[in-house]
């Protein structure tokens, strides 16, 4: 059963699309990360152009984070003040990122930059997760240091504010900067930024884990929504059919993942995901090394 994607201009198997959504949703439900970092490279492997993959993946993340952040908002797990500041940064970063995609695209380098960024990002993430998972396997549960050096440095920046929901006090610039960085990543790579925000909020802002996940989803909803809008307007690269197919799959997968997560040990899951991420990074890196079938890059269709 095939579905013709109107903006991507190609036909995909619906079951494959739902399955990909379900796999990514399952992993994100299991591990509490956005899943965009897996979605975009997998879409690229399916033959969707990197620019459309990134934009449509972001659109799918809008839906996934909407369902998640509502649940966390109800449970009181969202630091709205922190979230809004990161959001302001995210909108600025998202705008900059979309403009960056545009200029890279016109210079013909967008696809290469996206692939390179992915290789590096996936390799770093995979390695960090693998080491973390292994460390906690060997040592048993291990605690994140509550006040990192980065947290103390960021606190010294001007415009200090109190964040009662998280019980921390830091410069308003800290969440703004983190938000901006996530916005750039979202536009460039079609990622919601959860994998980056979750550790960043624990290490740089010293927020408690319970609040971190809810706030991350809350700000991810707005960042991904604004990036989707900007990609649609500036790059015409959002494929609504593609996003919807992924969304339906990932909504189902996320629920299954969240249920399974309660029965499994976190560090073991982390190692499994780390290996998956490393394999993906290796595959993309290999593609850069192997001589391409032809010397002309880019979409074959006009």
């Amino acid at each position: 059963m095939n579905l013709f994607l109107p903006v991507a201009g190609m036909s995909v198997n619906v079951l494959l699309l739902l399955g990909l959504g379900a796999l990514v949703g399952f992993l994100s439900g299991l591990l509490g990360v956005g899943g965009g970092f897996l979605l975009t490279p997998m879409l690229i492997m399916m033959g969707v152009s990197p620019v459309v993959s990134a934009a449509s993946g972001t659109n799918a993340i809008v839906g996934a984070s909407a369902s998640g952040s509502l649940a966390h908002l109800r449970a009181g797990n969202v630091d709205v003040k922190m979230g809004l500041l990161m959001l302001a940064g995210g909108v600025l970063g998202g705008g900059a990122g979309t403009a960056l995609v545009r200029s890279l695209r016109s210079s013909g380098n967008a696809d290469v930059v996206i692939v390179f960024a992915y290789v590096v990002l996936l390799a770093v993430m995979g390695a960090v997760m693998f080491v973390e998972g292994l460390t906690s396997q060997v040592k048993g549960e291990y605690e994140t240091p509550r006040e990192s050096a980065a947290y103390r440095w960021l606190r010294r920046l001007p415009f200090r504010l109190r964040f009662p929901a998280s019980g921390v006090e830091t410069s308003a610039l800290a969440p703004l900067l983190l938000g901006a960085l996530v916005g750039v990543l979202a536009a460039l790579m079609g990622v919601g930024g959860g994998f980056f925000l979750i550790p960043a909020m624990t290490y740089f802002l010293a927020m408690p884990m319970r609040i971190v996940v809810g706030t991350s989803l809350f700000q991810m909803l707005f960042t991904s929504a604004s990036v989707t809008l900007m990609q649609a307007v500036m790059n015409r690269s959002v494929d609504a059919f593609l996003a919807l197919g992924l969304l339906v799959g990932s909504a189902l997968g996320a629920q299954l993942g969240a249920r399974l997560a309660k029965r499994l040990r976190g560090d073991q899951l982390k190692i499994v995901l780390a290996l998956l991420v490393l394999a993906l990074s290796l595959k993309m890196f290999n593609d850069l090394l192997v001589m391409p079938p032809h010397f002309l890059a880019g979409p074959v269709a006009p």
């Binding site: 579905l3 996934a64 013909g108 959002v238």
Partner: protein
């Protein structure tokens, strides 16, 4: 008694008017290709006639356009994109079917002169941004052939002694909507002996047409709708699956 003897003479012009010289004809089914949600490429069945004793070449091609392609080259260990090559007067789709393999039907110089097959493309396509013209046209042909856009080998058309021919073409799923030209060329001893052409339209219909039109013309509205639909679908999924004790929804 003289009238019957004159009859054939009188009828001769009438007969020749009723049966014009056996021209080339071509027709295709379907005459228009609709790209709906289930579209995954289409085949085009072509039939027609050439004068008896002629060979036939049938060409399906898109309009000619200028295209800039990023050029990959090796830097250190990596294959990365550096600069662009610009092609002028290049079709994005070009498929040829002939009653005999193209190489046997026409020598490369004749193919080039008639604008047929790979020699025809090499003779007509312009290249800017590299001195290596021939190499990059070959690369373009290789890329497009691998994706099913180009088919330059020929053969594949059946031709019976009366001059009736049949051929089958395949539009790849990613062929863009627009007008394509279908041309049948009769060949006698390597020379053109008549031709016929018709236009095949490929167009998006239904939701496909509506969505791509909205995305192109009302980008703001399309972006807002994409976000809204995603939010509603996400909320609906969260609501559907909210069983007791499984409140933890994730992104």
């Amino acid at each position: 008694m003289r009238a019957p003897a004159l009859l054939p003479l009188l009828l001769c012009p009438l007969l020749s008017a009723a049966t014009p010289p056996p021209a080339v004809t071509v027709r295709a089914y379907p005459p228009e290709i609709r790209m709906s949600a289930g579209y995954h490429g289409a085949s085009l069945a072509v039939r027609g006639r050439v004068p008896p004793g002629c060979q036939v070449a049938v060409v399906l091609s898109s309009p000619l356009a200028g295209e800039a392609w990023p050029r990959r080259s090796k830097h250190g260990p990596f294959w990365i994109t550096t600069g662009a090559v610009r092609f002028e007067g290049v079709p994005w789709l070009y498929q040829i079917r002939t009653s005999e393999p193209l190489a046997e039907l026409l020598p490369p110089s004749r193919q080039a002169a008639l604008g047929l097959g790979a020699p025809g493309l090499k003779a007509t396509v312009g290249v800017r941004g590299t001195p290596n013209r021939e190499l990059y046209i070959e690369e373009l042909i290789r890329a497009r052939s691998a994706a099913g856009f180009y088919d330059l080998v020929g053969g594949g058309a059946s031709l019976d002694p009366t001059g009736e021919f049949r051929a089958l073409f395949a539009f790849p799923a990613s062929a863009p909507p627009g007008s394509y030209e279908l041309k049948a060329l009769a060949l006698k001893d390597g020379r053109p002996a008549g031709e016929a052409a018709l236009t095949i339209r490929l167009r998006k219909v239904g939701a496909e047409a509506w969505i791509s039109d909205l995305a192109a013309r009302h980008a703001w509205l399309y972006g807002l709708l994409s976000v809204l639909v995603a939010v509603l679908a996400g909320l609906a999924a969260g609501w559907l699956f909210r069983a007791p004790g499984t409140r933890k929804a994730t992104g």
